[in-house]
Amino acid sequence: MADNLLAIGTSGVLASTGLLNTTGNNISNLNTKGYVRQRTEYESSVLGLGVGRGTTDRLINDFALKQMRRDTSNLAFYEQYLAEASRVDTLFANSANSVGTGLTDLFKQVQTANNDPANNSVRSLVLGSAQTLINKFNTQAKLLTDQQQYINEQLTVYASDANALLSSIANLNKEISGYGLTINSVKPMDLMDKRDEAIRKLAELADIQVLDADNGEKLVFLTSGQSLVLQQGKFNMLSADGNPDPNRKVLKLQLDFNPNVTAEIDINAIGGKFGGLLEFRSQVLEPSLNKLGQLALTVGDSFNTQNKLGMDGNGLIGKNLFNLGSYSAQSFKQNTGSGQVFGTVAPGEGKNIPPNDFLVEFVAPNQFKMSALDATGNVISGSSVTQNSGTVAYGFKIDLDTSVGPFAAGDKFIFKPLSTASDKITLATTRPEDLALASPLKGEYTLTNQGNGRVGDVKITDTTTTQFSTPSQLTGGPYTLRFTAGNQFEVLNGGNVIVGTSAVMGTGPYNNIFASAGLTNYGFDVSLTGIPKAGDTFTISYNTSGFKDNRNGLALAGLQDDELVRKNAVATLAADNSSSFTEAYGEVISFVGQKTAQVRISTESAKSVLAQSQAWNESTSGVNLDEEAANLIRFQQSYAAAAKIISASQTIFDTLLQAAR
């Protein structure tokens, strides 16, 4: 009897000690990250002999934990995305570097030059502000490409972080499974805490699913289904060179004990910090870089084209003002042929360049299909154009280089000229005389004309015709227009030979006289104002020494309001598919701003969702000091009470011994 009491008391004391230990453990581990509250429970012993075995359990709600992991991934995704996007956003907020102010300054300088075209110092200012504009393009592009580099590095760093976590999860799995799941096995609760914490950290890096295996291991998968931690093994994450662009790193999985087994990761579904980086790269960084590149090429090409229609300060037909660079396409690793693809901006076609990357697929060794790609890298339907070498598609002239070897059908190339265009654009000249502000031709009326006709508009459309082939001269000219009694214009060339006669023009309007006379390939045309009389003549000649002329300069200034930037690769015929330079730049700003604003809102909401799920999780698994303090008192008292039982049993025994003496 007495020894029963002793046994009971002892069990009670031991139970209370255990409870106190647990409480103490809870209190001490208050600040341990990932610690889950433990609770010891006792069964009563059989036959009423005190307290039986106690089990200590972690108080955890699996659903709350899973929810918290999912919300952690979500928040990490948006936070990473926001951090990167804010950098680009701030970049566009700074108006000192802004390409928009650079463009406005350039046009202001052109206007000033128009006021005084013969003045060389004013012309130098125009070229100076063109150089400033290029510098701004270069700076903004460099900041964006630096971020690309940074993303590549971050991917590598995060991949090694992920690998460290995967290793520790796999090791912990092994150790925990070693303890066994039988009734008598000890639960390694701190190891389980550690494993959960590692899984939570991994959830920050990517969206994961966790399944419990039978032997106590936890298997980790990406939400897209690829496994990361298997039973008795794991995959390593790897940041690898992209295909075809080696500078655009992607993620791969590689089996730990057999490096030859690799798997691709679907980057659109990866989530977490990885997803934030990759989503930012493809949705914000690359489109912004492309849009900037498109703007640079369009501005350069428009100025080049207009300059070539004018006469410069040396009396020669103008040349290119900007060098737009030559771009090579990157071949996919699976290509069987060994040809290379190059592209340059086709002169005058700048307004057809859409803000996209392109896919070049060969259907035959010298015929290819060029399609525009959207932000996720998929071909935009309806955008494929079949071409041969040297023809112009989407504003680019594509050249095929078979010097190393021919192309094979099925070869694919990615052509991304716009991502480097802002870097490659340079000024072709720094000489102020190369700016073509004057028009190469002038039209004059003969003084003895009876009528009051005047040459109104000499429109230059093409300076590559034979008429302009000799420098500083109008070949075949000067051309004379003679108004006949039949109300027609006879066109005579420099040798006084009639080369064409216009249609009957009556009382006007006297427009496009050369075209009316069938002379459409001269590269220029003339319209008259006023009323000529029979016998009146007008002369079209080269504008030698006409340096005060600013007609081409006015056209250059007019580029500011022309719609020269293509919006979409695919659009319906009636759609408004062009915008002006300022509109296009405003588009880039609002694109970046709007994406960042969206991500800001998503981040805020993700934060509050995570706060909710954390609260739910903590409510089950978190330690509450006040509760533990109350428990301390409670278990102290039960300890005291149980100790009293022992002393009571001792007293009984002593009494018994006393009685027996």
């Binding site: 009389k533 340096f547 005060k548 600013n550 405003g586 700003i589 701003g593 509450n624």
Partner: protein, 409 residues
């Protein structure tokens, strides 16, 4: 819901963090005086601001252009007014030249004065602007507008008829110069009859312009630039007093012209006074002078040469004086027209500039609405966030200092 210890701290610390962030944001906005710190704060607003900036800058540039244009036009107007003044002087001198009571010496003196005024006008026509470019040379501004040709003795226009346009608004361009070709060179010489000859019994043929305006009207409609023969006329006098006017080829005029005239009397034909002496029958031939242009320098040269070089007597001088008077009047009219055109342009510039100013103000205010921070709003926000931070901080202290352990013995 059960709150764990860590949760309590986390909640409160987050509140403090958020309050600090909002305070920082409010203070940054006040410091930069803008509502839009980065485009993400208002994406469409940021794009709008960029395009408004562009418009405001363009408007300023156009206004600068307007000022420059106005200045150039002022210079041109001053020169033209001086030329106008000189022309007035010349007119007076021409009138006094026609005074029959002058002797040859006096006429030569007046002609000498005319040639001085001519030199003055020549100098004004070759005026240069501040950059050394000639005002009236059109596009060829480095070429002197008028040059004296030693061989012919006349003044040639070497410039070009181009007009430079300046842009003063998005779709308004205004000419910044006028070419000498239009202002000085394109003056019609006086229409008259030339190649006057007679045949038969007619002597002393004379064909004078009695009414210049009537003759000019006839000339405009009937001068044939293509077939020269159509401009040669013949007056055939038949005895005793008939005359008929046909072309020299014999083709009658449409409508036919015929009538009666006595020997010694003159015929009036479309503003021409055809007079003769001698006896009928006979013929009188004349041709219409082909239209020519004569700038004022050449006009004055003609009259000066007639007096100083050719030393013509007053009866012969009459034709030259009529030529000079008519042409000088025309030159003066043209200069006057150009001055008015300049005035018109100045008015246009002023009105465009004023409307640009209004547009600029409207754009600036629109931009301020989007971009700038209302100071009152900003300061209120700052105060609010400051107060909130203080509140959250004191709440933190209160909530976290409560612990059961404090009450355990």
């Amino acid at each position: 819901m059960r709150l764990s210890f860590n949760q309590i701290y986390a909640l409160n610390v987050n509140s403090i963090g958020n309050s600090q962030e909002r305070l920082q944001m409010a203070s940054a906005k006040l410091e930069k005086q803008t509502r839009i710190l980065t485009p993400a704060d208002d994406p469409s607003g940021a794009a709008r601001v960029a395009s408004l900036d562009n418009q405001i800058d363009s408007a300023s540039q156009y206004q600068t252009n307007s000022t420059m244009l106005s200045n150039s036009l002022n210079i041109e107007e001053t020169v033209l007014r001086s030329i106008q003044g000189s022309i007035q002087q010349v007119k007076t001198l021409l009138i006094s030249l026609g005074n029959g009571s002058n002797s040859q010496t006096e006429r030569e003196a007046i002609a000498g004065e005319i040639s001085n005024v001519r030199a003055e006008i020549f100098d004004l026509m070759n005026k240069q602007d501040s950059n050394g470019g000639f005002l009236f040379s059109g596009f060829d501004e480095k070429v002197q507008s008028y040059v004296y040709n030693e061989g012919t003795g006349y003044y040639d226009f070497k410039g070009n008829e181009g007009q430079k346009f300046l842009q003063v608004a998005a779709s308004v361009t205004i000419p910044a110069n006028d070419s000498g070709k239009n202002v000085f060179e394109n003056i019609d010489a006086r229409n008259k009859a030339i190649n006057i000859s007679s045949g038969g019994g007619i002597t002393n043929p004379k064909v004078e312009v009695a009414s210049q305006s009537v003759f000019d009207g006839y000339f405009q409609t009937n001068y044939d630039p293509l077939t020269a023969a159509n401009n040669d006329y013949r007056v055939t006098y038949t005895a005793p007093d008939q005359y008929a006017i046909t072309l020299q080829s014999g083709t009658p005029l449409v409508p036919p012209v015929a009538g009666t005239v006595q020997p010694g009397q003159s015929i009036s034909f479309n503003g021409l006074k055809i007079s003769q002496s001698g006896t009928f029958p006979g013929t009188l031939d004349f041709s219409l002078k082909p239209p020519a242009k004569s700038n004022i320098l050449n006009t004055l040269t003609d009259i000066v040469n007639a007096v100083l070089v050719d030393k013509r007597p007053p009866e012969d001088l009459k034709e030259y004086l009529v030529d000079a008077n008519v042409q000088v009047d025309r030159a003066s009219l043209r200069v006057g027209e150009t001055i008015s055109a300049l005035g018109g342009r100045q008015n246009l510039i002023r009105s465009v500039s004023e409307s640009l100013e209004d547009l600029k103000i409207a754009n600036k205010s629109y931009r301020a609405n989007i971009y700038e921070l209302d100071l009152v709003e900003g300061i209120t926000e700052l105060t609010k966030q400051e107060t909130q931070l203080k509140v959250v901080q004191s709440t933190f202290t209160r909530v976290t200092e409560l612990s059961l352990f404090d009450y355990l013995r």
